[in-house]
Amino acid sequence: MNNNFFEVLRSGINTTFQDKGRFGMQHLGVAPSGCMDHKLFLIANALVSNDEKEGVLEFAYQGPLLKLTKGKTKFAITGNVLFQIINSKNETINGECNRSYDLDEGDQIDILATRQSAYGYLSVEGGFDVEPFCNSVSTLVRANIGPNEGKKINIKNKIPLKTNRKEKNNYTAKVSLEKKNVIRVLKGPQFDYFSESSKKEFFSKEYKITNLTDRMGMRLEGKVLKNIVNTNIRSEGITKGAIQVPADGQPIVLLTDHPTIGGYPKIANVISADYDLLIQKIPGTKISFKSVELKKAEKAFKLYCEDIKKTLDTKSVL
């Protein structure tokens, strides 16, 4: 047991503890939650030589300002993130993503902003010392489940660390970030609820990501999708990436903190391989959807996993 901890000097907009997610509880009303960007989460842990299941801090847009009040650690930030390290002599170093750094007592990490992306990740060597609930440290703010009483990180919170710095080396990895705005989807269970022209337009028109976007869902704005069967269905279990269309005809992509059940028709479902790409898009971005078949989606996921493995293989000593 050590008493190493960060003090939160600024919380950031939406900073939460997350890991792979909490599974096997959706039938009890508990959504999986977990890191929005699975790839960046895995890389964050790898750079500080953690187990891939270790919890990290996820931040969105503006991140936190953290002071290592006690102890020594090693940390890494993944994503496309503007941040600085301010040491105890008040010297400022501009931070580089996708590498690890030593952090000494009194040093601060100032995570200023995510650039042309929504989410970034902070990992520390050994992990954060927070209490898991049902085998996960993921925070589900909507239900107040997870560490920090299920809430976002707040100013003056203390964030304890599991270990002191042990590892000598620092590491870097070459991370490629995809930019394309075409999101591949599989047709949804109620695809045929929509008019012929809407079915065509869904795949040919652009949809703008609106400000009403968070960890739970992404509201889109574009050509109204006309439902010709029924705008409500019996409530049924929700799958991550489902694109539901309520009566107003504007699609909503259900994301990691989705409700467990819902009763709107689903026109399509984002393929697993393109999920990280989608959730990193910021409001105002125009995206379009491309229909693929199941086999193609499975192949794309294989490539996605291979890309993560290749990225992890580029890890090298600095």
């Binding site: 009303g29 107040n144 279990g237 799958t239 467990t260 059940i261």
Partner: protein, 229 residues
Amino acid sequence: MLKKLSNIGDCGIVCDFGDEVSQKINTEVIKLFHYVRRQTSDRNLEGILNCTPSYNKLIINFDLKKINATKILDFLKSINFSELNLSQNKKEWTIPICYDFEMDLGNMSKVLKIDKDEIINIHSKTVFFIYMIGFVPGHPFMGDLDSKLFLNRLKTPRVKIAAGSVGIVEKFCNIYPYESPGGWNIIGKTPTKLFNKNDNNKPCLLSPGDTVRFKSISKKEFENLDNEQ
């Protein structure tokens, strides 16, 4: 009976049991739910992340790294549905309710033209079946109420309903696990906590397929039970 199997996205399977909302259909859903969960815990089926029953469907979500839609469909097609059973997994609960906390009995009595006491009598004699749990943690959707008590939602939902409030709409009865907004007709309140975030082993009291009977308690008993927790 299982009417249709299809995929939802590349990591989900929909088991569709038809359009009807009845205990008979839902029982079939829950039987399959228990079976899939048992096969998962016995390690006969790898990579299942979530299994979510609703009135007439079971959605199975899986880890595409470990299994795929074809393998799950093959598994589902190999099941002999007539051999699945519910009884060994089903629990029967008695949940205390204090009807003194009602908010809508007066209005219900007027609309339904049934005495308040008779409404309470019918409600407390009903053995409720849990169709599904969801929306928020621990929140049960139960049925079936006697058709004599069928009511619509409130025209204007309330901004705040206390945790533990018991409400009815149409043939359904629910318990609000948390303080929240709501449009159901509130007939009482239970001191029983449906979801405990400090219990890592069994945080949720109820499970889909369980049955619930309400037992009327006094305000004094309510307070005693409430203080014990």
